[in-house]
């Protein structure tokens, strides 16, 4: 008898094709989110407030209720949703520009308040949707369309280490950084997202996962080169790991 070993998650819309660029990690990340929603039986009680950026496409792919927040305001809207309907499962899926630049106020205050929601932040060191400009996470030396000779301190200042910041706040129950550059790391990313979701289900407070992600189009790289860059450059500065876990904290 045949057993099914691979299928499209129920939380993925059946009539849609990914519009992400070929080789972009957004596709992998969305799938992991969908698998976690499936496995935790959350699809029917989930509501998401979307981010503006390539991540906005999330609502085209997920079979989940969604409201489209203005650029950066996802966690304010998620706060409103959760406060109005505490029995729902509320999450955001945001770009690093959305989360940590224009929305940094909303993001950090949601964490500070300990809002019982989950935020997933895709760190691809650039503003992907608008064509690869310098963003808050752009690495020192990185060439973008608005840092033509590379990010230097004089003009641009330092990049932000998002997870380290979020982990500092008392309201944060769980904060971790993962990457999608290898199969084991993808598996670990899924486990981590699931854990963040479970923390919300247990009512423990703000849970957060930063996903180191590729933007091959704007990096002008092949997907392989892009993953190599994640490994050799991004993971050097943005070290993967669990930065806060309220359950193991003494």
């Amino acid at each position: 008898m045949a057993t099914q070993v691979f299928k499209v998650p129920d939380s993925i819309r059946k009539d849609m094709r990914y519009g992400f660029c070929p080789g972009c990690d957004h596709g992998v990340a969305v799938r992991l989110v969908a698998e976690c929603l499936d496995e935790l039986n959350l699809k029917e009680k989930a509501i998401t407030a979307t981010s503006i950026g390539c991540s906005v496409c999330l609502y085209d792919y997920l079979e989940v209720d969604a409201v489209e927040a203005p650029h950066g305001r996802a966690l304010a809207q998620a706060t409103g949703i959760k406060r109005a309907r505490p029995d729902k499962f509320v999450f955001t899926y945001q770009g690093d520009g959305d989360f940590a630049s224009i929305g940094w106020g909303e993001s950090s205050h949601a964490a500070l308040r300990g809002e019982n929601v989950t935020a997933i932040c895709i760190n691809n060191t650039t503003y992907g949707m608008t064509g690869g400009q310098l963003g808050p996470t752009t690495l020192l030396g990185q060439v973008t369309t608005t840092s033509p000779t590379g990010r230097n301190l004089e003009y641009y200042g330092y990049p932000i280490k998002i997870t380290e910041h979020i982990a500092m706040y008392d309201g944060t129950a769980f904060a971790a950084r993962v990457s999608l550059d290898t199969v084991p790391n993808i598996n670990n990313a899924k486990k981590t997202i699931k854990k963040a979701f479970e923390y919300q289900m247990e009512g423990l407070g703000f849970s957060f996962v930063e996903i180191l992600s590729t933007c091959p189009t704007n990096w002008r790289m092949t997907p392989q080169e892009a993953h190599e860059r994640v490994r050799t450059q991004m993971m050097e500065i943005y070290k993967p790991g669990v930065y806060k876990d309220i359950k193991t904290l003494k």
Binding site: K45, I47, A66, Q77, G80, I81, R85, G105
Partner: protein, 358 residues
Amino acid sequence: MTETMTKPEEKVLIKGNYAIANAAILAGCECYFGYPITPQSEIGEFMSGKMQELNRAYVSAESELAAINMVMGACSTGAKAMTSSSSCAIALMQEALSYAASQEIPLVLISVMRGGPGLGNIYPSQGDYNQATIGGGNGDYKLTVLAPGNVQECVDLTYKAFYLAHKYRNPTILLADGLLGQMMEPVTFKDYPYPEIDNSGWALTGAKGRERRLLRSYAPLADVQCDFVRSLFDKYKKIEENEVMYEEYLTDDADLIVVSFGSLSRNVKSAVNVCREKGLKIGAFRPITLSPFPSKELSRLSNSAKKFLVTEINMGQMVKDVRLAVNGKVPVEFLGKPVGSMIDVEDIVTEIERQLEV
């Protein structure tokens, strides 16, 4: 006393801001999100205690940007939710208001005007007529705007704001001013007089037993966006047909009609009375819905009146809408000042008399 009230049996003497907050509670407001700014901070203060006592949602938001987006999030689930703020802080909410209009999110925003532009000051002003009725958000959209003229109306129109917002799924602003917010008057709180609107056809509740729902404003295809904006304007037309409110005072035989809104209309009425005693045929007209604007009614009055005098505590904002309504049939003059206090009854009478002479 006022801080703890919900539904007093008797008439009570109460400040406008508390009256609005208490009316919101009685209207069934489930969530309040806000950031302090004078002259409306009493609303947030009242709500902080009352909402917790009633086990409803309250958040001291980190900014007005956050507050209005929290309201949007809550309303997207069908909940009755609101924020309150003033002038320079409402400037921060314009992006969200455009999104909310487009996504048809039924939020309620209480705007208690102070002086401007910029930080301005905390004296009474009506300088945010344009901000409320035209708005600073992008694209083609209209909000519903209600302007109370006394504290009792602050209560009645707060009820109505929740009702209209949900009935039409359109963001609705209650536009008061610092004077109304800070003034005490006797008020009766009746029960919320409107039917509850069924939100079950669109609210985000989780995709259980149905397809997922999406409240979006982004339409990548031009013709889809065209059809969508047209449908919004069909809705605005319906609101205009059904919901325009205004007050007329002695307009039937009036040679000159004074048009004003909000708290200033009280002085206008007194000025009309003074003029009538002098034998002058003066009337008054007060739009209560500023958007939709009672253009048809003003147009009708321009067939009988020989002149309009618009007076506002600003440099001339509503006067443009009156001129559009009257469409050149008779002159529309203006008396105003930017900020500070009422325009005195004597000054209005003097201007009326001057306008009758020229």
